[in-house]
Amino acid sequence: MESLTALIVGILVAASVYLMLARNFVRFLFGLILLSNAANLVIFASGRMTPGAPALVPYGADAPLGVVGNALPQALVLTAIVIGFGLLAFTLALAFEAYRRLQTMDTDKMRLAEPEESDEDITK
């Protein structure tokens, strides 16, 4: 199971790197989403995958009975997913607003904040 997860993570990262190398910012965003999911899977797998029951403590007991799954990575992944979702939502809104105002999604053409030097500037 772990090796299968590792393979999936590898494929996700490869696909995301491919997408993130594109000039189009929307593709970059998709790459980011894949990378975010790859990171979440890494955390999930790092807690070891056991065919155990959910980590619930039965009523009246002090500890869970039998083999239970590791609950910590699940809590971590949940946090990471929520945070990642918020950040991606913001980025998507930013990308949309940038497209509306800059009329391009080509990152090579986004040079407003760092305009290319013209010869005139150097000689001044």
Binding site: L32, V42, L94, A98
Partner: protein
């Protein structure tokens, strides 16, 4: 009692943010923000007193014992960063009274600003790796908001690059956390210090260490991962860029210092050696990049990168003297760099632009501002007796003691080029006459805008001078901080044995 001391510097800005957001349509919002910043400073000084008294202060949140619960911990390095964050926060909160227009206040400027301060403070105080990630995200999302607040085309353009590169670095950092948990089974930083040494396959630890180095390196803005910084720092309002310049990259440096003294010390010859050459390249590339710029804030942005190199060099050399220099540099740099951005704001206000070709004459019309620029500018370049001289002196001396002549030479040479950039700003913005023939006197701006903008500049410049003339207590403080970093046993025992 101690747990309250640790929580307050984080809780105060958060509470302020909530109140400031609820009343963002009223002018009272800005005074709430100011009051919150004053309270934060009081809270962090109370924490400083406790740390000076006890060495390391730690507390467990929600009654979960370490290493299972979330730990908040303050040692000398952590607490000085919290205090300096509060000072920078207060300075920019005062500055914002003059600079930030009502339009941005109604969009929630003060709430975002206070959340940013809370995030930065949290990152300095946490003793848990995953919690550090959460603070990074709090800091990131509020900095995203502040960066594009107002929504000019330049800001959106800068925002895209800033957001994209920072998110990638966060994901690298997050994957590193996952892998480190996978091999050690713990996320408590003090617990990790012991657990990492017990891992059989140390090569795996080194790989994870490199992931952390890349993740934090992007935040810190080291070569070759700094490109988001000069692309974005010159676009938001001056108060925002001053906080960014002062604090955000330093969180990356702090995280590097913490992880590479506490956890990743198994293969110093490999990891820290890489960091040495990264630092040298950072210093050089930053300062050369600055030399090619002709915009007030762009020059300063490239100098942030160059100065980050000195701080990481202090960590990379990994001797008591070098780390001491690194800590001292960190504190000195936050004050100086935030102040320079604030000066740039006043220069823009009076002369009308930040492009150095389009302004001038500031020395003649406002010599007071010129004097206030000279102090942080020459401190940055390392002129005695200002604070930057001592910071550079410690780092260069540490490099020479290790016979690292090339590094020492690079550090000194970069100092020289820094003077070149600072004199360039001086010559073009202050000395030469204004190209449009305007006399950029202070009266060109109404006093209710200008006075709040000048107060923090005077205050921060005074601090630079005080540290410069009386470096003794600050150097001693940095020395103890360096000792705690090199021998984290006090940190570890305090955290793992902390009473809740």
């Amino acid at each position: 009692m101690t747990s309250w001391l640790l929580v307050m510097p984080i809780a105060v800005p958060f509470a302020t943010a909530v109140i400031a957001y609820l009343i963002r349509h009223s002018v009272a919002g800005r005074y709430v923000s100011l009051a919150g910043s004053v309270l934060s400073l009081v809270a962090s000084i109370a924490l400083l007193m406790a740390v000076l008294d006890q060495g390391v202060v730690a507390a467990q949140m929600s009654n979960w014992d370490a290493p299972f619960g979330i730990t908040l911990v303050a040692d000398y390095l952590g607490v000085v960063m919290v205090v300096i964050t509060a000072i920078t926060g207060l300075a920019t909160a005062i500055y914002a009274l003059g600079e930030i227009p009502e339009r941005l206040e109604k969009l929630g400027y003060h709430a975002l600003f206070q959340t940013l301060i809370a995030g930065v403070t949290g990152a300095f105080l946490t003793g848990d790796l995953f919690n550090l990630y959460v603070w990074f995200e709090v800091m990131l999302i509020s900095s995203f908001g502040l960066l594009v607040l107002g929504g000019t085309r330049e800001q959106l353009d800068a925002g895209i690059k800033y957001v994209a590169l920072n998110l990638v670095s966060t994901l690298v950092f997050l994957s590193g956390i996952g892998l480190l948990y996978g091999v050690t089974g713990t996320l408590n930083m003090a617990d990790l210090a012991g657990a990492v040494a017990e891992v059989e396959d140390q090569g795996l630890i080194t790989v994870i260490a490199m992931m952390f180095m890349v993740g934090f390196g992007v935040k810190a803005g080291v070569f070759p991962l700094f490109f988001w910084l000069p692309a974005s720092y010159h676009t938001p309002s001056f108060a925002v860029s001053a906080v960014f310049a002062g604090l955000l990259t330093k969180v990356g440096v702090y995280a590097l210092m913490r992880m590479f003294t506490l956890v990743f010390v198994g293969d110093v010859g490999f990891t820290h050696e890489i960091l040495i050459w990264v630092s040298a390249a950072t210093m050089l590339v930053g300062v050369l990049g600055a030399a090619a710029q002709s915009d007030f804030r762009k020059i300063l942005s490239f100098h942030i990168i160059s100065q980050i190199g000195y701080m990481t060099l202090g960590l990379a050399l990994y001797t008591p003297l070098a780390l001491m220099g690194g800590v001292f540099y960190l504190v000195h740099h936050i004050i100086v760099k935030a102040n320079l951005f604030l000066v740039a704001g006043v220069a823009r206000l009076q002369a009308g632009h930040t492009d150095l070709y389009r302004i001038g004459g500031l020395y003649k019309s406002s010599p007071f501002l010129a004097a206030l620029f000279i102090v942080p500018a020459f401190s940055l370049a390392g002129f005695p007796p200002l604070s930057g001289f001592w910071a550079k002196y410690l780092i260069v001396k540490a490099a020479i003691e290790l016979d690292a002549w090339v590094i020492a030479f690079v550090a000194l040479f970069v100092g020289l080029l820094t003077i070149f950039s600072m004199t360039k700003i001086w010559g073009m913005a202050f000395w030469k006459p204004h190209p449009d023939g305007i006399d950029p006197t202070p009266d060109r701006a109404p006093a209710r805008i200008r006075v709040p903008m000048m107060i923090p500049i005077v205050g921060l410049a005074a601090m630079t001078v005080v540290i410069g003339f009386f470096p003794e207590p600050f150097v001693q403080f940095a020395e103890i901080a360096a000792m705690q970093l090199l021998d984290p046993s006090d940190y570890v025992t305090t955290v793992l044995g902390a009473q809740r």
